[in-house]
């Protein structure tokens, strides 16, 4: 029963989207809210039925999709995907709430958004490479229209830039996939070629990609190509330039889902595809990847500090925070992986909240110049309080959800010194820079907080309406989530534990 429920989870948003388009426009918002609530309930029941001790995927559905080249429709949930699916469902409800006041054709907006949801669920649930790719790419299209139609002044530019950048990444993925498909015919136990992610992690295939294997050369290329594909999505520093544009131009709810879930696809895919498939290439290049991650942390933080546009600052903070994810994965330690994963969940909550907090003010002020604000705390003390919670969670204050991920990534980085073949000096330098990133983060967030919330209330903002109940509801939900996940990390780790054991074994790091 739960197997079919997972299928329904992926396609229910599609049904909702079609209903949005067919029924009268004024009903669209209710339909969208209903759909997201239904999917949330589905997700919750799946999470309750999930057996936490199992390593492999659960609720698996396997169907032949393109028999000619062995492509399957194979979906399932494991510890790696379940928390992200829950995050997606939970955020989706809030995003519909945040988009409640969209003026321009709300039915199209909601329909596109629901299509996007299907794509996100599909990415997190698919266990076949082709299926994964299809969902990965399908999720771009609604995003393009959502930014392009409802965005800010430079929406067209931002939308096409987003699309082209991520498409270029997808293409790197596609060529690697075709290559993997081609070379797997040499693995003796598989009949012909395969796209099955689980089969690709088996020892027979791993032997091909090992340094002694037949396709070691290919594996090194494939590692970098897939890494770039997902690095663009995360985004890792040199590939990040689409992100500030997309975020600044996107409407608030879309920024929330973009930062909250879409960026996580990149980190998730690194853990799901790049690292388990090419562990030897990964450990060969780990220093390079880790340096890229640290560069992202520092660079993102410095850029954030230099911004005068509030939303851009939050966007760059995403670059910085997602750098921890890259670093945590790159150092190849269990703690690092756990930390990176928790950082994704935590960032999913805090970034959505930060973008929403910015959105609430922007809706009233119609500008985002940090230096033109001031004294918001005195004007709306309640809003100020929740803002403090949200931004401090993003900053990584102990007790809030941003803290656990960052600390675990840093610990994992230092643990890498114990790994065979790692140069301790390099590891310590790396770790110190990453830790310095925390200081920078505190710097730009506190400075921003001071400029916007502290001081005297400016006269021109006297007429602002107070945030209404809907807005408070969203803020409060996210704030409480930030608090809970800051206190009880086991909520996530209970689910991921078994799968990560398995992942470590595949990567060959069991026990480290």
């Amino acid at each position: 029963m739960y197997d079919s429920l997972l299928n329904w989870l992926i396609f229910t948003p599609c049904i909702g989207a079609v209903l949005c388009l067919l029924l009268p426009a004024d009903k669209a918002k209710n339909i969208a809210l209903g759909t997201t609530v239904v999917t949330l309930l589905m997700t919750v029941s799946l999470a309750l039925a999930f057996k936490t001790g199992m390593q492999g995927p659960q609720f698996v559905t396997t169907l032949d999709w393109i028999p000619a080249i062995n492509v399957q429709y194979k979906i399932g949930l494991d510890g790696l995907s379940l928390p992200l699916v829950v995050l997606t469902s939970a955020l989706s409800v809030l995003v519909v709430g945040a988009g409640w006041k969209i003026g321009k054709s709300p039915n199209v907006f909601m329909a596109l958004y629901l299509f996007l949801m299907s794509g996100m669920y599909g990415v997190f649930c698919s266990l076949d490479m082709v299926l994964f790719y299809v969902f990965f790419e399908i999720s771009l299209l609604p995003m393009y229209f959502l930014i392009g139609i409802w965005g800010g002044p430079r929406k067209e530019y931002a939308a096409i830039k987003f699309f082209l950048y991520t498409l270029a990444g997808s293409v790197c993925l596609l060529i690697t996939m075709l290559g993997i498909y081609n070379v797997t015919s040499s693995a003796d136990f598989i009949n012909g070629n395969t796209w099955d992610m689980m089969a690709l992690q088996s020892e027979a295939v791993q032997a091909l990609f090992a340094p002694s294997g037949e396709y070691w050369y290919f594996a090194r290329w494939a590692f970098w190509l897939t890494f770039i594909a997902f690095a663009i999505k995360i985004p890792v520093a040199p590939f990040h330039t689409w992100l500030p544009d997309a975020h600044v131009e996107a409407p608030t709810p879309i920024s929330m889902i973009l930062a909250g879930v879409l960026l996580k696809m990149g980190g998730y895919a690194l853990m799901r595809i790049t690292y388990p498939l090419f562990p030897d290439a990964a450990s060969l290049f780990w220093e390079c990847v880790a340096t890229i991650g640290v560069f992202g942390i520092i660079y993102g933080a410095l850029c954030a500090m230099a911004q005068t546009d509030w939303k851009k600052l939050v966007a760059y903070s995403s670059v910085s925070h997602m750098g921890y994810v890259t670093l945590g994965i790159a150092v190849l330690t269990r703690t690092g992986f756990d930390g990176a994963y928790y950082q994704m969940i935590g960032h999913g909550i805090t970034s959505a909240m930060m973008f929403f907090l910015v959105g609430v003010v922007y809706e009233r002020a119609h500008h985002r110049e940090i230096n033109k604000f001031g004294g918001l705390w005195l004007k709306w003390p309640q809003y100020g309080g929740w803002s403090m919670l949200g931004f401090f969670a993003g900053m990584g204050l102990p007790g809030l959800c941003g803290f656990i991920g960052e600390v675990m990534v840093l610990l994992g980085t230092f643990h890498a010194a114990d790994r065979a073949g790692a140069d301790p000096t390099f590891v310590y330098i790396l770790g110190s820079f990453a830790a310095f990133g925390v200081v920078l983060t505190a710097g730009y967030i506190l400075w921003m907080f001071q400029r916007i919330y502290m001081g005297k209330t400016r006269e021109e903002y006297e007429h602002f309406e107070k945030p209404n109940a809907r807005e408070y509801a969203i803020m409060v939900t996210l704030g409480i989530a930030a608090l809970i996940f800051g206190i009880a990390p086991l909520l996530v780790f209970n689910y991921t534990h078994a799968t990560f054991e398995n992942l470590m074994a595949v990567i060959g790091l069991a026990g480290s």
Binding site: I138, A168, L174, I175, Y181
Partner: protein, 536 residues
């Protein structure tokens, strides 16, 4: 098959059965010409006759299977000049369906610009071109290749210039004729070289000559010349100049027809020539060289088509360049046919043609609707169209995205299957796949242009769009069928790929020179028997 042979009449009758689709087309042509004597000035009657004839040809093209070598022998008919195999049969099936759809499209749009008395002429020319294309798919020796290409081209020249009063149409047609004659001459010249070197018109014998004499310079000249003629039909890069002008000027239904059917037939012909070489020639170096040449042609074509398409403002010209780049992709697929299991590539090509047919039919039908109701093909004039007719605009976007290769739509599956076949061809295959994918990325820019104007840009105040009158249900049907087919092939491609896979087989005649009538039909099915022959 000389007259002295007592078997010639039964053999002839048996062979005739296999060319029933072509015979039906010829009969229909004659019927269409007779119809005006019965009902003068009636348009619907010849249209029905045409559709009936195409339907009969469609039915006649069914039922070709290669279960055994024995049936394969019968597949090479009329002294090996035509090969009736599953590959060509499936293409013919698609061609007939497509021709029917084009006739319907013409009945809906083109009829208004055409005098009622000219209707039989148009239909007859269309049938004549279909006849030529159907032969192109089967042509198995130099004479047939040439004459089939001409049978497809000459009616096309007349069709392209069918709007006699229209200056662009006439200019396009003239350009088409001139380019066509030069490329025909080039092809014929190349063929004469090939004949001179090998002393035979059979493709398999020519390939056999490479085995015995090696790749002589004269052979290279011959092959390049022939490829030049093919390049014209495919609108591959040095011979592509006619394409945008003809596509812009010709009536839209003719453009639709030429963009798909003519290129598809040429791809079939190219695939057959290459398949002959791939089966018979056993020198890997020569094969790689040929693959490299054809692959380079495809890569240059695809890239050039895309680059020029980037700054097109006219919808039809944009689609013309897009069709050039798609031809490039298919040529790249043909190139690796020499190096890998041909079945994979052949079925991928068939699937590609199937999908491409519906994408282009849909896109050009929307273009025809827009041209007719808004009086403009300039994409910038479509600003704000999405608000006025959201369904039509959405359909155009779907077709464009499919042409681009958006997952979930048929276009992606076509490219994907082609790529999955191409990647097996070692470094060359990988490079070609890379070029294919890179092209896909930057083609996004122009495929999204109509969407950009229709959705993102608001209507200008000084240029208000006329309201599009309610369209006829038949137009909606055509568009709906195309759209459904694209989603179907994109989301549930299994049916299409199965059909394509079953038909990804070509017959290749043996390389050994036929000495007498009995051994004339020796043939094999995608198996390197001929190679073994040549080795001995």
């Amino acid at each position: 098959m000389l007259l002295s042979d007592p078997q010639w009449l039964p053999q002839l009758m048996a062979d005739l059965k296999l060319v029933m689709p072509e015979l039906w087309l010829v009969v229909t042509m004659c019927l269409v010409l007779i119809v005006p004597f019965i009902r003068k000035g009636n348009v619907i009657l010849p249209v029905f006759v045409t559709i009936f004839g195409l339907l009969m040809a469609l039915l006649a093209s069914q039922g070709v299977h290669l279960d055994s070598i024995d049936t394969a022998r019968q597949g090479l008919v009329f002294s090996n000049s035509l090969a009736i195999d599953p590959f060509s049969s499936l293409f013919k099936t698609l061609l007939m369906i497509f021709a029917m759809l084009v006739v319907v499209q013409w009945t809906l749009f083109g009829r208004d610009n055409t005098h009622a008395l000219d209707a039989p002429d148009f239909l007859c020319l269309l049938l004549g071109a279909t006849f030529g294309m159907s032969l192109m798919a089967s042509a198995n020796n130099l004479i047939m290749i040439f004459i089939a290409t001409e049978s497809a081209s000459i009616p096309s020249y007349a069709l392209a210039g069918f709007r006699k009063k229209n200056k662009i149409s006439t200019e396009g047609s003239l350009k088409y004729v001139l380019f066509g004659s030069v490329s025909s001459a080039l092809m014929l010249y190349g063929m004469s070289m090939l004949y001179g070197v090998s002393g035979s018109l059979q493709l398999s014998h020519i390939a056999g000559t490479i085995n015995s004499q090696g790749m002589t310079p004269l052979m290279v000249v011959g092959l390049v010349g022939m490829l030049g003629g093919f390049a014209f039909k495919l609108s591959a890069v040095p011979m592509h100049f006619w394409c945008p002008d003809v596509f812009e000027g010709a009536p839209t239904e003719v453009t639709t027809f030429l963009s798909v059917a003519s290129k598809g037939a040429a791809i079939c012909m190219l695939a057959r020539v290459i398949q002959n070489f791939g089966t018979i020639v056993y020198n890997e170096e020569i094969l790689t060289g040929i693959a490299l040449g054809v692959g380079a042609l495809g890569a240059v074509t695809a890239t050039w088509g895309n680059l020029v398409a980037l700054h097109q403002s006219n919808l039809k010209r944009l689609l013309a360049y897009s069709s050039i780049s798609h031809a490039g992709y298919m040529i790249m697929g043909c190139a690796v046919l020499l190096l890998v299991d041909p079945k994979l590539i052949l079925s991928a090509l068939l699937f590609y043609v199937l999908v491409y047919m519906f994408m282009n039919l849909g896109a050009f039908t929307v273009a025809a609707v827009l041209e007719r109701h808004l009086g403009t093909l300039d994409i910038a004039d479509y600003a704000g169209l999405f608000k006025k007719s959201p369904t039509l605009a959405s359909l155009l976007i779907v077709f464009m995205l499919s042409l681009f290769g958006m997952p979930g739509l048929g276009g992606f599956m076509g490219k994907f299957l082609l790529g999955a076949g191409m990647i097996k061809a070692g470094t060359l295959g990988t490079v070609l796949v890379g070029i294919l994918l890179l092209n896909t990325v930057f083609s996004l820019w122009y495929y999204l242009r109509p969407a950009y104007f229709m959705i993102f840009v608001d209507e200008q105040e000084d240029k208000t769009l006329p309201v599009i009158a309610p369209l006829r249900p038949a137009i909606w049907t055509i568009l709906g069928v195309c759209c459904v087919m694209l989603f179907w092939t994109g989301l549930l491609p299994a049916v299409g790929t199965d059909i394509a896979e079953d038909n990804g087989q070509m017959i290749v005649a043996s390389a050994k020179r036929a000495q007498d009538t009995n051994s004339q039909h020796t043939s094999n099915v995608n198996e390197p028997i001929a190679k073994a022959d040549a080795h001995r």
